[in-house]
Symmetry: C2
Protein backbone atom coordinates (compact mmCIF):
# COMPACT_ATOMS: atom_id res chain seq x y z
CA UNK A 1 0.00 0.00 0.00
CA UNK A 2 1.35 3.44 -0.92
CA UNK A 3 1.53 6.29 1.52
CA UNK A 4 -1.45 8.19 0.13
CA UNK A 5 -3.72 5.17 0.35
CA UNK A 6 -2.71 4.48 3.91
CA UNK A 7 -3.23 8.12 4.81
CA UNK A 8 -6.73 8.04 3.36
CA UNK A 9 -7.58 4.75 5.07
CA UNK A 10 -6.44 5.84 8.49
CA UNK A 11 -7.32 9.51 8.17
CA UNK A 12 -3.90 10.72 9.24
CA UNK A 13 -1.70 13.00 7.18
CA UNK A 14 1.07 11.98 4.85
CA UNK A 15 3.37 14.30 6.73
CA UNK A 16 2.70 12.37 9.91
CA UNK A 17 3.68 9.14 8.21
CA UNK A 18 6.80 10.84 6.93
CA UNK A 19 7.50 11.97 10.46
CA UNK A 20 7.08 8.50 11.92
CA UNK A 21 9.45 7.24 9.27
CA UNK A 22 11.97 9.98 10.08
CA UNK A 23 12.05 9.17 13.77
CA UNK A 24 12.14 5.44 13.11
CA UNK A 25 8.76 4.75 14.65
CA UNK A 26 7.26 3.23 11.50
CA UNK A 27 9.68 2.45 8.69
CA UNK A 28 8.07 1.03 5.58
CA UNK A 29 9.98 -0.70 2.81
CA UNK A 30 10.78 1.28 -0.33
CA UNK A 31 10.13 0.61 -4.00
CA UNK A 32 13.02 0.92 -6.45
CA UNK A 33 12.01 4.54 -7.07
CA UNK A 34 12.16 5.30 -3.35
CA UNK A 35 8.41 5.35 -2.77
CA UNK A 36 7.28 4.06 0.62
CA UNK A 37 5.41 0.76 0.68
CA UNK A 38 3.37 -0.20 3.73
CA UNK A 39 2.64 -3.92 4.17
CA UNK A 40 0.34 -5.75 6.57
CA UNK A 41 2.86 -5.60 9.36
CA UNK A 42 3.28 -1.85 9.10
CA UNK A 43 -0.46 -1.30 9.04
CA UNK A 44 -0.86 -3.31 12.21
CA UNK A 45 1.92 -1.34 13.85
CA UNK A 46 0.37 1.94 12.73
CA UNK A 47 -2.93 1.00 14.36
CA UNK A 48 -1.10 0.27 17.59
CA UNK A 49 0.75 3.56 17.34
CA UNK A 50 -2.48 5.48 16.81
CA UNK A 51 -4.20 3.77 19.70
CA UNK A 52 -1.36 4.55 22.06
CA UNK A 53 -1.12 8.08 20.76
CA UNK A 54 -4.84 8.52 21.37
CA UNK A 55 -4.17 7.40 24.90
CA UNK A 56 -1.81 10.31 25.32
CA UNK A 57 1.57 8.58 25.24
CA UNK A 58 4.48 10.36 23.62
CA UNK A 59 5.88 8.97 20.39
CA UNK A 60 9.04 8.10 22.25
CA UNK A 61 7.12 6.09 24.81
CA UNK A 62 5.18 4.40 22.06
CA UNK A 63 8.38 3.41 20.32
CA UNK A 64 9.71 1.98 23.54
CA UNK A 65 6.52 0.07 24.27
CA UNK A 66 6.34 -1.42 20.80
CA UNK A 67 9.99 -2.24 20.31
CA UNK A 68 11.39 -3.27 23.63
CA UNK A 69 9.83 -6.10 25.56
CA UNK A 70 11.73 -5.03 28.67
CA UNK A 71 9.72 -1.80 28.80
CA UNK A 72 7.67 -1.94 31.97
CA UNK A 73 4.20 -1.23 30.66
CA UNK A 74 2.70 -0.95 34.08
CA UNK A 75 5.26 1.63 35.13
CA UNK A 76 4.74 3.63 31.96
CA UNK A 77 0.98 3.65 32.46
CA UNK A 78 1.37 4.53 36.11
CA UNK A 79 3.65 7.41 35.29
CA UNK A 80 1.32 8.57 32.59
CA UNK A 81 -1.66 8.44 34.94
CA UNK A 82 0.22 10.44 37.53
CA UNK A 83 1.10 13.06 34.94
CA UNK A 84 -2.50 13.27 33.78
CA UNK A 85 -3.86 13.62 37.27
CA UNK A 86 -1.37 16.31 38.15
CA UNK A 87 -2.35 18.22 35.03
CA UNK A 88 -6.02 17.82 35.85
CA UNK A 89 -5.45 19.15 39.34
CA UNK A 90 -3.48 22.14 38.11
CA UNK A 91 -6.07 23.01 35.50
CA UNK A 92 -8.92 22.68 37.96
CA UNK A 93 -7.13 25.07 40.30
CA UNK A 94 -6.70 27.52 37.46
CA UNK A 95 -10.34 27.22 36.45
CA UNK A 96 -11.47 27.84 39.99
CA UNK A 97 -9.32 30.94 40.26
CA UNK A 98 -10.36 32.40 36.94
CA UNK A 99 -14.02 31.68 37.58
CA UNK A 100 -13.79 33.27 40.99
CA UNK A 101 -12.30 36.40 39.48
CA UNK A 102 -14.81 36.52 36.64
CA UNK A 103 -17.64 36.09 39.12
CA UNK A 104 -16.22 38.55 41.62
CA UNK A 105 -15.63 41.38 39.19
CA UNK A 106 -18.46 41.11 36.70
CA UNK A 107 -17.89 44.61 35.33
CA UNK A 108 -14.15 45.05 35.63
CA UNK A 109 -11.92 46.72 33.08
CA UNK A 110 -8.82 45.06 31.70
CA UNK A 111 -6.57 46.69 34.29
CA UNK A 112 -8.78 45.70 37.16
CA UNK A 113 -8.85 42.13 35.92
CA UNK A 114 -5.13 41.96 35.60
CA UNK A 115 -4.66 43.46 39.01
CA UNK A 116 -7.11 41.00 40.48
CA UNK A 117 -5.20 38.15 38.93
CA UNK A 118 -1.97 39.63 40.21
CA UNK A 119 -3.26 39.94 43.74
CA UNK A 120 -4.61 36.43 43.64
CA UNK A 121 -1.28 35.07 42.45
CA UNK A 122 0.45 36.95 45.22
CA UNK A 123 -1.94 35.61 47.82
CA UNK A 124 -1.30 32.08 46.59
CA UNK A 125 2.37 32.72 47.14
CA UNK A 126 2.14 33.92 50.72
CA UNK A 127 -0.79 32.10 52.25
CA UNK A 128 -1.33 28.39 52.71
CA UNK A 129 -4.39 26.76 51.23
CA UNK A 130 -6.10 26.59 54.59
CA UNK A 131 -5.40 30.24 55.25
CA UNK A 132 -6.89 31.15 51.89
CA UNK A 133 -10.02 29.20 52.73
CA UNK A 134 -10.27 30.93 56.11
CA UNK A 135 -9.86 34.29 54.44
CA UNK A 136 -12.56 33.43 51.92
CA UNK A 137 -14.99 32.46 54.69
CA UNK A 138 -14.12 35.66 56.48
CA UNK A 139 -14.87 37.69 53.35
CA UNK A 140 -18.24 36.06 52.99
CA UNK A 141 -19.03 36.74 56.62
CA UNK A 142 -18.17 40.40 56.26
CA UNK A 143 -20.32 40.78 53.19
CA UNK A 144 -19.78 42.64 49.98
CA UNK A 145 -20.54 46.09 51.32
CA UNK A 146 -18.02 45.84 54.07
CA UNK A 147 -15.36 44.54 51.65
CA UNK A 148 -16.02 47.43 49.32
CA UNK A 149 -15.86 50.02 52.08
CA UNK A 150 -12.65 48.75 53.66
CA UNK A 151 -10.05 50.08 51.19
CA UNK A 152 -11.19 53.68 51.65
CA UNK A 153 -11.14 53.27 55.42
CA UNK A 154 -7.67 51.79 55.24
CA UNK A 155 -6.43 54.52 52.98
CA UNK A 156 -7.81 57.23 55.29
CA UNK A 157 -6.14 55.59 58.26
CA UNK A 158 -2.83 55.53 56.39
CA UNK A 159 -3.10 59.19 55.62
CA UNK A 160 -3.79 60.06 59.25
CA UNK A 161 -0.82 58.06 60.43
CA UNK A 162 1.40 59.61 57.80
CA UNK A 163 0.30 63.02 59.02
CA UNK A 164 1.39 62.24 62.58
CA UNK A 165 4.72 60.94 61.35
CA UNK A 166 5.35 64.15 59.44
CA UNK A 167 4.27 66.20 62.47
CA UNK A 168 6.68 64.21 64.64
CA UNK A 169 3.93 63.12 67.06
CA UNK A 170 5.11 60.70 69.74
CA UNK A 171 3.80 57.17 69.10
CA UNK A 172 2.57 57.15 72.67
CA UNK A 173 0.32 60.13 72.02
CA UNK A 174 -3.33 59.15 72.65
CA UNK A 175 -4.35 60.23 69.13
CA UNK A 176 -1.79 57.86 67.64
CA UNK A 177 -2.81 55.16 70.10
CA UNK A 178 -6.35 55.50 68.81
CA UNK A 179 -5.17 55.13 65.23
CA UNK A 180 -3.10 52.09 66.20
CA UNK A 181 -6.14 50.48 67.81
CA UNK A 182 -8.09 51.13 64.63
CA UNK A 183 -5.27 49.57 62.62
CA UNK A 184 -5.31 46.47 64.78
CA UNK A 185 -9.10 46.25 64.62
CA UNK A 186 -9.04 46.40 60.83
CA UNK A 187 -6.43 43.71 60.60
CA UNK A 188 -8.24 41.49 63.06
CA UNK A 189 -11.47 42.01 61.20
CA UNK A 190 -10.02 40.57 58.02
CA UNK A 191 -7.64 37.99 59.41
CA UNK A 192 -10.20 36.82 61.93
CA UNK A 193 -7.52 37.42 64.54
CA UNK A 194 -5.51 34.41 63.31
CA UNK A 195 -1.86 35.18 64.17
CA UNK A 196 -0.54 32.83 61.47
CA UNK A 197 -2.51 34.69 58.85
CA UNK A 198 -1.26 37.97 60.20
CA UNK A 199 2.27 36.63 59.96
CA UNK A 200 1.69 35.70 56.31
CA UNK A 201 0.26 39.14 55.71
CA UNK A 202 3.35 40.76 57.18
CA UNK A 203 5.56 38.58 55.00
CA UNK A 204 3.60 39.62 51.98
CA UNK A 205 4.02 43.30 52.73
CA UNK A 206 7.68 42.69 53.39
CA UNK A 207 8.26 40.65 50.22
CA UNK A 208 6.12 42.69 47.87
CA UNK A 209 7.50 46.15 48.40
CA UNK A 210 5.75 47.39 45.33
CA UNK A 211 2.36 46.18 46.49
CA UNK A 212 2.91 47.63 49.94
CA UNK A 213 3.79 50.99 48.41
CA UNK A 214 0.63 50.96 46.35
CA UNK A 215 -1.31 50.43 49.54
CA UNK A 216 0.50 53.34 51.13
CA UNK A 217 2.37 51.14 53.57
CA UNK A 218 6.13 51.23 53.95
CA UNK A 219 8.72 50.24 56.51
CA UNK A 220 8.53 53.63 58.23
CA UNK A 221 4.79 53.39 58.82
CA UNK A 222 5.13 49.79 59.93
CA UNK A 223 7.74 50.70 62.52
CA UNK A 224 5.76 53.68 63.77
CA UNK A 225 2.62 51.63 64.33
CA UNK A 226 4.60 48.83 65.91
CA UNK A 227 6.05 51.28 68.43
CA UNK A 228 2.57 52.69 69.11
CA UNK A 229 1.15 49.24 69.70
CA UNK A 230 3.78 48.23 72.28
Amino acid sequence: MKIGDLAKRTGISIRTLHHYDEIGLLTPTRTAAGHREYGREEIVRLQQILSLRQSGFSLEEIGGLLDRRDFDVRAVIGLHLARLQEQIRARQDLCARLEAIAAHYPTATAEEFIQAIEVMTMFDKYYTKEQLETLEKRRQMLGEERMAAAPAEWSALMQDVRGHIRAGTDPKDPRVQELARKWRALIDEFTGGDPAIEESLRNMYKGETRFAEEQGVDAEIGDYIRRALE
Copy 2:
Protein backbone atom coordinates in the same frame (compact mmCIF):
# COMPACT_ATOMS: atom_id res chain seq x y z
CA MET B 1 18.39 47.25 37.94
CA LYS B 2 20.53 44.90 35.85
CA ILE B 3 19.25 41.67 34.43
CA GLY B 4 20.99 39.39 36.93
CA ASP B 5 19.56 41.28 39.91
CA LEU B 6 16.07 41.15 38.50
CA ALA B 7 16.43 37.44 37.76
CA LYS B 8 17.48 36.79 41.34
CA ARG B 9 14.68 38.94 42.77
CA THR B 10 11.95 37.29 40.77
CA GLY B 11 13.43 33.84 40.60
CA ILE B 12 13.13 33.57 36.85
CA SER B 13 16.01 32.89 34.51
CA ILE B 14 18.05 35.42 32.62
CA ARG B 15 17.26 33.55 29.44
CA THR B 16 13.57 34.07 30.06
CA LEU B 17 14.12 37.82 30.37
CA HIS B 18 16.16 37.73 27.16
CA HIS B 19 13.29 35.87 25.56
CA TYR B 20 10.69 38.39 26.69
CA ASP B 21 12.91 41.11 25.28
CA GLU B 22 13.30 39.25 21.98
CA ILE B 23 9.56 38.87 21.47
CA GLY B 24 8.92 42.44 22.56
CA LEU B 25 6.97 41.46 25.66
CA LEU B 26 9.28 43.26 28.07
CA THR B 27 11.81 45.63 26.56
CA PRO B 28 14.14 47.32 29.06
CA THR B 29 16.26 50.33 28.26
CA ARG B 30 19.94 49.79 27.53
CA THR B 31 23.11 51.28 28.99
CA ALA B 32 25.74 52.70 26.64
CA ALA B 33 27.48 49.32 26.70
CA GLY B 34 24.27 47.58 25.65
CA HIS B 35 23.46 46.12 29.05
CA ARG B 36 19.74 45.85 29.85
CA GLU B 37 18.40 48.16 32.53
CA TYR B 38 15.07 47.42 34.16
CA GLY B 39 13.32 50.33 35.83
CA ARG B 40 10.26 50.45 38.08
CA GLU B 41 7.91 50.34 35.16
CA GLU B 42 9.47 47.22 33.72
CA ILE B 43 9.43 45.49 37.08
CA VAL B 44 5.73 46.19 37.45
CA ARG B 45 5.11 44.87 33.99
CA LEU B 46 7.15 41.77 34.70
CA GLN B 47 5.05 41.01 37.76
CA GLN B 48 1.94 41.30 35.66
CA ILE B 49 3.43 39.04 33.03
CA LEU B 50 4.35 36.43 35.61
CA SER B 51 0.89 36.52 37.19
CA LEU B 52 -0.82 36.06 33.87
CA ARG B 53 1.63 33.35 32.86
CA GLN B 54 0.91 31.54 36.12
CA SER B 55 -2.73 31.72 35.16
CA GLY B 56 -1.96 29.76 32.03
CA PHE B 57 -2.18 32.44 29.37
CA SER B 58 0.19 32.30 26.42
CA LEU B 59 2.83 34.98 26.09
CA GLU B 60 1.05 36.25 23.01
CA GLU B 61 -2.21 36.65 24.94
CA ILE B 62 -0.35 38.34 27.76
CA GLY B 63 1.20 40.80 25.36
CA GLY B 64 -2.21 41.57 23.92
CA LEU B 65 -3.79 41.99 27.33
CA LEU B 66 -1.09 44.30 28.57
CA ASP B 67 -0.64 46.41 25.47
CA ARG B 68 -3.97 46.78 23.81
CA ARG B 69 -6.89 48.19 25.72
CA ASP B 70 -9.24 46.94 23.00
CA PHE B 71 -8.41 43.38 23.97
CA ASP B 72 -11.60 41.90 25.36
CA VAL B 73 -10.40 40.50 28.67
CA ARG B 74 -13.63 38.75 29.38
CA ALA B 75 -13.51 36.97 26.03
CA VAL B 76 -9.91 35.94 26.54
CA ILE B 77 -10.69 34.55 29.97
CA GLY B 78 -13.77 32.79 28.69
CA LEU B 79 -11.84 31.21 25.86
CA HIS B 80 -9.11 30.19 28.23
CA LEU B 81 -11.60 28.65 30.63
CA ALA B 82 -13.21 26.71 27.81
CA ARG B 83 -9.82 25.40 26.71
CA LEU B 84 -8.96 24.37 30.24
CA GLN B 85 -12.24 22.59 30.79
CA GLU B 86 -11.97 20.75 27.52
CA GLN B 87 -8.49 19.61 28.46
CA ILE B 88 -9.69 18.52 31.87
CA ARG B 89 -12.48 16.50 30.32
CA ALA B 90 -10.17 14.83 27.82
CA ARG B 91 -7.65 13.94 30.49
CA GLN B 92 -10.30 12.58 32.81
CA ASP B 93 -11.56 10.35 30.02
CA LEU B 94 -8.05 9.11 29.41
CA CYS B 95 -7.49 8.45 33.09
CA ALA B 96 -10.71 6.50 33.33
CA ARG B 97 -9.77 4.37 30.36
CA LEU B 98 -6.25 3.66 31.49
CA GLU B 99 -7.37 2.89 35.02
CA ALA B 100 -10.04 0.55 33.72
CA ILE B 101 -7.45 -1.30 31.68
CA ALA B 102 -4.94 -1.44 34.50
CA ALA B 103 -7.63 -2.75 36.83
CA HIS B 104 -9.06 -5.19 34.33
CA TYR B 105 -5.79 -6.81 33.35
CA PRO B 106 -3.76 -6.82 36.53
CA THR B 107 -1.29 -9.39 35.21
CA ALA B 108 -1.12 -8.57 31.53
CA THR B 109 2.01 -8.59 29.40
CA ALA B 110 2.99 -5.65 27.24
CA GLU B 111 1.28 -7.08 24.16
CA GLU B 112 -1.93 -7.75 26.03
CA PHE B 113 -1.95 -4.23 27.37
CA ILE B 114 -1.40 -2.74 23.99
CA GLN B 115 -4.08 -4.89 22.49
CA ALA B 116 -6.49 -3.94 25.26
CA ILE B 117 -5.80 -0.28 24.59
CA GLU B 118 -6.25 -0.87 20.88
CA VAL B 119 -9.58 -2.61 21.36
CA MET B 120 -10.76 0.11 23.68
CA THR B 121 -9.81 2.81 21.18
CA MET B 122 -11.65 0.91 18.50
CA PHE B 123 -14.75 0.58 20.66
CA ASP B 124 -14.69 4.30 21.32
CA LYS B 125 -14.69 4.81 17.59
CA TYR B 126 -17.70 2.64 16.77
CA TYR B 127 -19.98 2.85 19.78
CA THR B 128 -21.67 5.86 21.26
CA LYS B 129 -21.06 6.75 24.90
CA GLU B 130 -24.43 5.37 25.93
CA GLN B 131 -23.78 2.15 24.10
CA LEU B 132 -20.44 1.77 25.84
CA GLU B 133 -22.13 2.24 29.19
CA THR B 134 -24.76 -0.33 28.30
CA LEU B 135 -22.05 -2.76 27.26
CA GLU B 136 -20.20 -2.17 30.50
CA LYS B 137 -23.31 -2.90 32.56
CA ARG B 138 -23.89 -5.98 30.47
CA ARG B 139 -20.34 -7.16 31.17
CA GLN B 140 -20.80 -6.71 34.88
CA MET B 141 -24.08 -8.64 34.76
CA LEU B 142 -22.47 -11.54 32.96
CA GLY B 143 -19.61 -11.73 35.42
CA GLU B 144 -15.94 -12.31 34.96
CA GLU B 145 -16.14 -16.04 34.43
CA ARG B 146 -18.59 -15.77 31.64
CA MET B 147 -16.54 -13.01 29.97
CA ALA B 148 -13.44 -15.15 30.20
CA ALA B 149 -15.17 -18.22 28.77
CA ALA B 150 -16.79 -16.48 25.83
CA PRO B 151 -13.81 -16.07 23.47
CA ALA B 152 -13.16 -19.82 23.42
CA GLU B 153 -16.83 -20.52 22.78
CA TRP B 154 -16.88 -18.00 20.00
CA SER B 155 -13.74 -19.39 18.45
CA ALA B 156 -15.14 -22.93 18.54
CA LEU B 157 -18.34 -21.75 16.89
CA MET B 158 -16.33 -20.05 14.15
CA GLN B 159 -14.41 -23.22 13.49
CA ASP B 160 -17.61 -25.27 13.20
CA VAL B 161 -19.12 -22.80 10.78
CA ARG B 162 -15.96 -22.72 8.74
CA GLY B 163 -16.08 -26.51 8.55
CA HIS B 164 -19.56 -26.43 7.11
CA ILE B 165 -18.58 -23.81 4.57
CA ARG B 166 -15.67 -25.94 3.41
CA ALA B 167 -17.93 -29.01 3.28
CA GLY B 168 -20.42 -27.02 1.22
CA THR B 169 -23.30 -27.68 3.62
CA ASP B 170 -26.52 -25.87 2.73
CA PRO B 171 -27.17 -22.95 5.12
CA LYS B 172 -30.64 -24.37 5.63
CA ASP B 173 -29.24 -27.63 7.00
CA PRO B 174 -30.48 -28.15 10.58
CA ARG B 175 -26.91 -28.44 11.87
CA VAL B 176 -26.06 -25.03 10.43
CA GLN B 177 -29.34 -23.62 11.72
CA GLU B 178 -28.32 -24.79 15.17
CA LEU B 179 -24.98 -23.01 14.85
CA ALA B 180 -26.72 -19.87 13.61
CA ARG B 181 -29.02 -19.90 16.64
CA LYS B 182 -25.97 -20.23 18.87
CA TRP B 183 -24.37 -17.30 17.03
CA ARG B 184 -27.41 -15.16 17.57
CA ALA B 185 -27.65 -16.17 21.22
CA LEU B 186 -24.02 -15.21 21.81
CA ILE B 187 -24.48 -11.83 20.18
CA ASP B 188 -27.68 -11.14 22.07
CA GLU B 189 -26.02 -12.15 25.30
CA PHE B 190 -23.37 -9.47 24.92
CA THR B 191 -25.34 -6.74 23.18
CA GLY B 192 -28.31 -7.26 25.46
CA GLY B 193 -30.36 -7.66 22.30
CA ASP B 194 -30.02 -3.96 21.50
CA PRO B 195 -30.26 -3.67 17.71
CA ALA B 196 -28.36 -0.34 17.63
CA ILE B 197 -25.44 -1.93 19.42
CA GLU B 198 -25.55 -4.85 17.05
CA GLU B 199 -25.46 -2.41 14.18
CA SER B 200 -22.39 -0.71 15.66
CA LEU B 201 -20.83 -4.11 16.12
CA ARG B 202 -21.42 -4.95 12.47
CA ASN B 203 -19.90 -1.63 11.43
CA MET B 204 -16.87 -2.35 13.52
CA TYR B 205 -16.35 -5.73 11.93
CA LYS B 206 -16.85 -4.16 8.54
CA GLY B 207 -14.50 -1.23 9.16
CA GLU B 208 -11.78 -3.07 11.03
CA THR B 209 -11.03 -5.86 8.63
CA ARG B 210 -7.88 -6.70 10.45
CA PHE B 211 -9.65 -7.06 13.79
CA ALA B 212 -12.36 -9.18 12.20
CA GLU B 213 -9.76 -11.46 10.69
CA GLU B 214 -8.07 -11.90 14.03
CA GLN B 215 -11.41 -12.99 15.43
CA GLY B 216 -11.80 -15.48 12.60
CA VAL B 217 -14.68 -13.58 11.03
CA ASP B 218 -14.68 -12.50 7.43
CA ALA B 219 -17.21 -11.46 4.82
CA GLU B 220 -17.73 -15.07 3.71
CA ILE B 221 -18.67 -16.27 7.17
CA GLY B 222 -20.87 -13.26 7.70
CA ASP B 223 -22.79 -13.96 4.50
CA TYR B 224 -23.15 -17.62 5.28
CA ILE B 225 -24.62 -17.00 8.70
CA ARG B 226 -26.88 -14.30 7.37
CA ARG B 227 -28.31 -16.73 4.86
CA ALA B 228 -28.76 -19.34 7.57
CA LEU B 229 -30.58 -16.88 9.79
CA GLU B 230 -33.09 -15.86 7.14
